[in-house]
């Protein structure tokens, strides 16, 4: 059930109605848990066992950590289970492809299906267990509560990666959503749907055509890459908006995951605005434990590089993702070395343009299917013949419209104001957004969300 399909909305409507029709809170929690497992099973019921197993392991490990004198053992067990499953499903074939030739063995690829959302729920579990180990989070006593934390359907398959303290603050002292929450939630669902179907899917058609078989031409390569850069932003932030919106309608509050990343004036700022729940996870559970910036400049650059390399690898098991992560790690290090990681008021516009250009170049590694394809596209961008652009007039119009909306939102936080503002502004704004969705949305094919594959 993709978020942008009618069956999912039917499912969500039923869950919402039942949730508020049931007067007893424990029953509501059971309903959410059952709905979440149903949602997950609708993709592939076999992986429910995996989800359930990891849930049990982490639930008991957290209790063990809290009660035991040797908590490290429980922590190691939990990490081994989570990373073991993640490694097996996601990286087995990659590692075989890397090491088999080194050992003089033929490469034999296994038919391994990646369980949906495994990268997200394992990271969410790890953060919980580590927080318990660090004494920053008490172990959850109720197994259904913990299971709901891991499986909660709005964020199960593609985040945001919710911290336990945020989730249980809502769950253990649940309050019905305020009027503003309801309005904001409905708005975010429509906004996310519009981002996905009217923007991401439109740009996906251009990006897929180009990257599935890249053709020569500088402008062709630039517009193809730009199309993917726009696609991935609208796709992922659209999904996140919907997830946050649905959670709000159910009385839960997810953290912000995107804050207009293409307005960032440095790569450092970009990562504070892009996939915030992952970058803050990498910071808290990888970069800082590695030493962060506490051991001198070179060690800081090294830590940044390692963090981003692993962040790249988290996205997918291929050298292209490693290169993408390494590229960002390198840029973060260079920025820090050059003292450019802090925003500059006077050079904001040129630095934003340079930052976006650098991020777009990075997307080539992310999207191209092979290293050779990445090299071809980059060669075309820098030294290709002029070629023809791939975006037509109204696609440019959509991009400019999105930029204007982002600038307005960045300056005036329109979304928040809209939720709190008078109905006579909210209703026409909702209608206009609906019109954009119906006139530009891709309805005839349900294009999967990019981050569902991670």
């Amino acid at each position: 059930m993709l978020f942008n399909t009618a069956p999912f909305f039917a499912f969500f409507a039923v869950v919402l109605l039942l949730f508020y029709a049931i007067p007893w809170w424990p029953a509501r929690k059971w309903l959410l848990l059952a709905a979440s497992y149903y949602f997950y099973a609708s993709w592939n019921p076999k992986f429910l066992a995996l989800l359930g197993s990891l849930t049990l392991v982490d639930y008991f490990c957290a209790l063990w950590i809290e009660r035991s004198r040797r908590p490290k053992l429980a922590l190691i067990l939990s990490l081994a289970a989570n990373l073991g499953f993640l490694g097996f499903f996601k990286y087995t074939n990659f590692l075989i492809a890397v090491f088999a030739p080194l050992a003089g063995q033929p490469v034999r690829v296994f038919d391994i299906v990646l369980p949906l959302g495994i990268s997200f729920h394992t990271f969410q579990s790890i953060s919980y267990v580590v927080d318990v180990y660090r004494g920053q989070q008490t172990a959850i006593r109720s197994l259904p509560d913990y299971a709901l934390f891991i499986a909660f359907f709005p964020q199960l398959v593609a985040g945001p990666i919710v911290r336990a303290r945020d989730f249980f603050r809502d769950l253990l002292a649940w309050q019905p959503p305020t009027g503003e929450d309801l309005r904001l939630g409905a708005w975010l669902i429509l906004l996310g749907l519009t981002k996905k179907m009217a923007f991401a899917d439109r740009f996906a058609m251009v990006a897929d055509t180009y990257f599935n078989s890249p053709t020569p031409g500088q402008l062709t390569a630039i517009t193809g890459t730009l199309a993917f850069g726009l696609q991935i932003f609208f796709d992922f932030s659209g999904y996140t908006d919907m997830a946050i919106g649905m959670a709000k309608l159910l009385g839960f509050h997810f953290p912000e995951n995107f804050r207009r990343p293409y307005l960032a004036s440095s790569i450092t700022e970009f990562w504070r605005r892009w996939h915030i729940s992952l970058s803050s996870w990498l910071r808290d559970y990888l970069y800082i434990p590695l030493g962060g910036s506490r051991h001198g400049a070179w060690r800081t650059y090294f830590n940044l590089l390692i963090t981003m390399l692993l962040g790249g690898l988290w996205h997918g098991a291929s050298w292209n993702f490693v290169l993408w992560g390494g590229y960002h790690g390198l840029l973060l290090g260079l920025e820090r070395a050059a003292g450019l990681s802090q925003p500059s008021r006077w050079l904001r516009i040129p630095r934003t343009i340079i930052t976006v250009a650098l991020v777009m170049l990075g997307w080539v590694f992310f999207r191209a299917s092979t290293f050779e394809a990445s090299r071809f596209v980059l060669t075309q961008i820098f030294t290709g013949e002029p070629g023809a652009g791939l975006l037509n007039r109204w696609q440019w119009g959509l991009a400019v419209l999105a930029l204007l909306v982002a600038l307005i939102e960045d300056r005036w936080q329109v979304t928040e104001r809209l939720a709190r503002g008078p109905a006579w502004i909210y209703i026409p704004a909702f209608a206009l957004m609906g019109l954009v969705l119906e006139l530009f949305g891709v309805f005839d094919q349900a294009i999967p969300f990019i981050y569902f594959q991670f």
Partner: protein, 363 residues
Amino acid sequence: MPTTRRAAVVTILASLASVFLLDAAIFRTGIYMRWVEADSSTGLTEYRFRAERDRQRQAGNLVLTFGDSRMAYLPRVANQYTSKSGYVFRHAGTAGSSARDWYYLMRDLDPRANRYQAIVIGLDDLEDEDSLVSRQDDPRSLHYNIGRLALTDLWDFAISHPSPAYQWAAIRGGILKGIVMQEDFHHLLLHPKARIRSANLNWTGWAGWAYDYDDEERSLAGLSIDWKTRQLSFSPGMDPGYRKMFQETLLRKPALATGLRGDYQRHWFGRMANHYRNSATRFVFVRLPRGPLSPRTDVLLNPNSSIRQLAKQPRVFLGTPLRYMELERPDYFKDPLHLNRAGAHAFSKMLVDEVRELIGPPH
């Protein structure tokens, strides 16, 4: 002041309604249809609708015909015989359309069932064998009818498509018409000046151009077939693509009669006939010339086919099956399916004669 939950729910419901109302204001009031691309499925239907509705004010004793592109008759030629026949012929069919599309257009053109002396439908054959293209699950149908569909038609129209995907597309598009008009709107955004210019031209000129249209002169003269060996002989310079078309039409093996086409025709032609049940309007089915090369005989596959059953109803008439056999010659066709100018002229006159014979003089 904080918004109460009740007020928020009301606002959200009003917002959802406002999406529909905004769509309706644009696509249900005629505002957008004024600028629709004439050379599109929706545009053709809408221009046709407006032309025929306007024509109703100007002439009496109207006979309205429906058919797809194979119904290559020319009302202008047919009306040269009005003094003899007593009827003014009009045509509301469009290429690629079928019974479902004709029903909605006919219903909107004649809501009280009193504006036409007869409704004439041109058919490929009178049987229920499955046709080359599935008419039931035709995605074009939504585009032909989108300007005609009211909310009350939604369910009926949607379930007339067998596949759930088309049913859902019909419900979705029937509620928010902008979804169906997307492509047209994108084209308008890309070429606004050209669209406005052509819309202004079409607004005044389309009906006249459509009426004055004359078919192409090219013919298939020189084409022949040996029916024993089923070998075709092409004249030099003939489009090689026609060979495939002949294989799929003239030489194709008998198709399955799954019942789907019969059900479809029974349903939609039945509704059309039912629309005129208590009126004086007659309903006529005619069989179109089959093709440039056709056997001299006809095989009756099903004496109780949907069309033959419908023809048993009062005021429903069935034309003679091989009435137009003399037109089934290569020199009357421009391609394996369509009459050329000479064929269309000859057919138009013969159609007037047949309709006049079947329904008699105007009343």
